[in-house]
């Protein structure tokens, strides 16, 4: 399949794509019928619960489960002794160790045992009967303290070859990107800003806690139902953990109540399968909110130092950033993504970033929407804002002067093709928001953001039913309206009404491998595969029409939902519609389908500019968001409502990160705010309408020009809000969240 040609994109006029059709799962979701992770049951089902470490760092001397096992109604108890470590795959072995602690509990909330019982009440009672003998160890939860000499060490021997000799064992890896000579560049500047920034860990905060239902038969086959961003990933990970053949484990994705990257790995599923295997019964597990916050992936907290030099006319001469991200108790913080993306929005001759992946006694981080990029953008965009304002320059003009464009060699080494950053900046500059008056204690901030996007393994099967409707099977959970988008692209390609296409998310037994719903890949990659599958079906339908007419298939072309005889000497034949061809499919060779199995790489990068007005109460340090506008390049907005929704949702999550959300650890290393009361995500009354401007600079790597849009929108808001608050409060804020106490003390310290 020619997925790799220089340009997939054809300029065209759309009929379905770009309209605002109603989503196919809408009625189920507004009537309560949609079935999410916790909404399914099985006959004879047991309830599974997990016992979690109350200590941030503790050696597990022994676990006595005998009393729990003896409790009537308890059918299985599981500890790490039931699982076999995976010696040749650290990545999967860390996931397993995170699901069930081995010799040490590495953070408050780390799972240490699990039970399955005939009722939730009995399971709870059984947890209390499990005796764990802990030797409490010193702990560390701060990223900078974790690399100080003498800091408590989580793992020995995990540092890779990039880490200098003698460095802290809590440093897992070091990376470096950039080009030119930063010191020479900085020497040319009229001013150099040097600042350190910190961001706290935030949680993806999906409203649906993790849930699954597992069954395992004595013949070795197993079934899982779960809420996940990637049921194929769940299958492959669990199969590796259980040494099962992947084909023996069927995973069905439920409707998913939000993920934002946090459901791209497993927490419960291997435990539920083990409980199901030991008990011989189906086992359902549902996390509580406090379990979600204590033990599933928040994002990294970070500490970032930047040095940026600028001439007095606004040209950046040199830029450096050193980023330290803690990824929780296991390797894998997204610091490489932060280091690659930090200066990606700018055309720089001298630029360098250094990243450090660090472990500490916190839950293993999981991806969160553009993982690693928002923290880096917070530091860089704050420093650029400070330089621009220091010279009395317009912050948008400064960004335009330095903006990356087609032909720019990016800070991570790649020369950009056509990109939309300048368009977002110009549109922002010309928008009424930029010129609107501000009142006392109010400030306006802007910031840019960048994200990569990628493709990955994708299967789509498109079937034509005998009555001429179309079903599309895809393998990526629909996290924000993607079934509608797939149906739209199939309808567009086939030239039939949207209502004639129904898209479903198929289980792992029905399609081949599918990459997780991540990397803003679904509308791009699954959309591309859907278009290719539709093209394959069209070719087959043209062939069937040619057979019917007794002419050469090359003399038939597809347009407006029908086969037309158009070739030279094709003769006069009335067009055959899709429904007419479908009706006689049995007579012309059997059912008609198109499919596409591909790894469509070459996703286009995406840029955004955000603009926000804030008002700060100087007496309390409270910040109100007055106005917010998102300018982002979508390539082509397949369903504009859901593109706007991604822009608005990402901006709002970023506002929460900037102002309120944070993981607060006590002196004892336990999480102090494991609930939505104290871990405060934005509520409706915190916000104004989030205005959006969709720009469409086509991605040459997609037939319709589509770019991923889901992640970029969380990259600029941390800095945009910080720039606005810093202006409103007249003090540069370098730590987020800018919660009222933190902002108030900064105001008082002026």
């Amino acid at each position: 399949m020619a997925l790799d040609s220089k340009s997939e994109y054809d300029v065209r006029t759309f009929k379905v794509v770009g309209t605002r059709v109603q989503r196919p799962d809408g009625v189920d979701k507004v009537t309560g019928k949609a079935r999410f992770g916790a909404d399914i049951t099985a006959p004879g089902m047991l309830t599974g619960l997990i016992l979690r470490s109350p200590h941030a760092h503790a050696r597990i001397r022994s676990i006595d489960t005998s009393a729990a096992e003896a409790l009537p109604g308890v059918h299985a108890v599981v500890t790490s002794a039931d699982f076999t470590p995976i010696d040749d795959d650290d990545f999967t072995d860390d996931i397993l160790a995170n699901c069930m602690a081995r010799d040490k509990a590495l953070y408050d909330g780390h799972a240490v045992a699990a039970v399955a019982a005939s009722s939730g009440h009995i399971a709870k009672a059984a947890l209390k009967l499990i005796k764990v003998d802990y030797e409490v160890l010193p702990h560390v939860t701060d990223v900078d303290k974790a690399i100080e000499p003498g800091a408590p060490v989580l793992h020995e021997g995990r540092s890779d070859e990039t880490v200098p000799e003698g460095a802290s064992p809590n440093i897992i890896s070091r990376c470096e990107f950039g080009h030119g000579d930063v010191e020479a560049g900085l020497a040319k500047a009229d001013r150099v800003v040097e600042r350190s920034f910190k961001t706290e860990a935030t949680h993806q905060g999906y409203i649906e806690p993790h849930a699954c239902l597992a069954q395992m038969s004595t013949d070795g086959t197993a079934d899982l139902w779960c809420c996940t961003q990637g049921h194929y990933m769940v299958r492959n990970t669990c199969a590796a953990i259980f040494r099962m053949e992947q084909g023996q484990l069927r995973v069905t994705a439920s409707e998913i109540g939000g993920g934002f990257g946090g459901k791209t790995t497993v927490f419960l599923e291997p435990v539920a399968l083990m409980l199901a295997r030991k008990s011989g019964r189906p086992v359902k597990m549902v996390m509580s909110r406090s379990e979600v916050l204590r033990a599933t992936g928040p994002t990294s907290s970070s500490s970032v130092d930047v040095r940026i030099g600028m001439t007095k006319d606004g040209k950046i001469t040199g830029a450096f950033a050193e980023l330290r991200y803690q990824g929780g108790a296991y390797p894998g913080s997204p610091v490489e993504m932060g280091a690659m993306s930090a200066f990606a929005a700018y055309d720089l001759e001298h630029v360098k970033t250094v990243g450090w992946d660090i472990v500490c006694n916190r839950p293993k981080q999981a991806a969160y929407r553009a993982p690693g990029a928002p923290m880096a953008a917070f530091a860089v965009e704050s420093a650029i804002d400070e330089l621009a304002k220091g010279f009395g320059l317009d912050p948008i003009e400064v960004r335009l002067k330095n903006a990356a464009r087609e032909g720019t060699k990016s800070s991570y080494g790649v020369t950009y093709p056509a990109i939309g950053l300048e368009a977002t900046l110009r549109t922002a500059r010309d928008h009424p928001h930029w010129k609107a008056p501000l009142g006392p204690n109010q400030g306006r901030g802007v910031a840019c953001g960048f994200w990569f996007n990628f493709g990955g393994d994708t299967c789509v099967s498109l079937n034509i039913t005998p009555d001429g409707t179309v079903t599309v099977s895809e393998g990526n959970p629909d996290i924000g309206g993607s079934r509608a988008s797939m149906s739209m692209m199939a309808a567009e390609e086939l030239g039939i009404p949207y209502e004639k296409v129904r898209t479903i998310v198929a289980d792992t037994g029905s399609l081949g491998q599918n990459e997780v719903t991540d990397g803003s890949r679904v509308t791009f990659a699954v959309g591309l595969a859907t278009i290719k599958a539709a093209r394959a079906a069209k070719a087959e339908m043209c062939k069937r029409a040619a057979m019917t007419w007794g002419i050469d298939p090359e003399a038939v072309e597809w347009r407006d939902g029908a086969a037309h005889a158009t070739g030279h000497n094709a003769g006069e034949h009335p067009p055959m519609t899709l429904a007419e061809i479908a009706a006689i499919a049995s007579n012309t060779g059997g059912p008609i389908a198109g499919h596409c199995e591909a790894n469509p790489e070459g996703a286009g990068v995406s840029f955004a500019t955000h603009m926000v007005d804030t008002e700060v109460d100087p007496d309390t340090g409270a910040t109100k968001i007055l106005r917010y506008t998102v300018f982002q390049d979508a390539g082509k907005a397949v369903h504009p409502d859901y593109v706007e929704g991604q822009f608005q949702g990402g901006a709002t999550q970023g506002i929460g990160w900037a102002l309120n959300e944070e993981y607060i650890y006590g002196e004892d290393g336990t999480l102090q705010n494991p609930g939505f009361l104290d871990y405060r995500v934005p509520v409706a009354s915190d916000l104004p309408m989030i205005d959006t401007v969709i720009l469409e600079i086509p991605n040459p790597g997609h037939p319709y020009g589509v770019r991923g849009v889901g992640e970029t929108s969380i990259v600029p808001p941390l800095a945009a809000v910080a720039n606005a608050v810093s202006e409103a409060a007249d003090v540069r804020m370098t730590q987020i969240p800018m919660s009222p106490p933190r902002l108030l003390s900064a105001i008082l310290a002026k």
């Binding site: 790799d4 950039g178 946090g262 553009a370 080494g413 790649v414 996007n453 990628f454 070459g602 996703a603």
Partner: protein, 81 residues
Amino acid sequence: MVAVTVFGSLARFTDDKTTVEIEASNLRELLEGLGEKYPGLKPQLKRGVSVAIDGRVYNDSWFQPIEPDSEVVLLARLKGG
């Protein structure tokens, strides 16, 4: 020969060069060639890399062609949310 830009932290495994020359006509040959010529890169190659060829990012596609004048940049393996 293809000129490959490797990121800074890998330069100590490529004789301190950030641009190295590899005989390769596709991604597979490129990755194999890098590992053979600079064995110090093997741990990173095993952990995973992404490769940008003429501005487009590839993770896995072995037979993606690479022209002698292509811009080839080694990246840390991309992750998403």
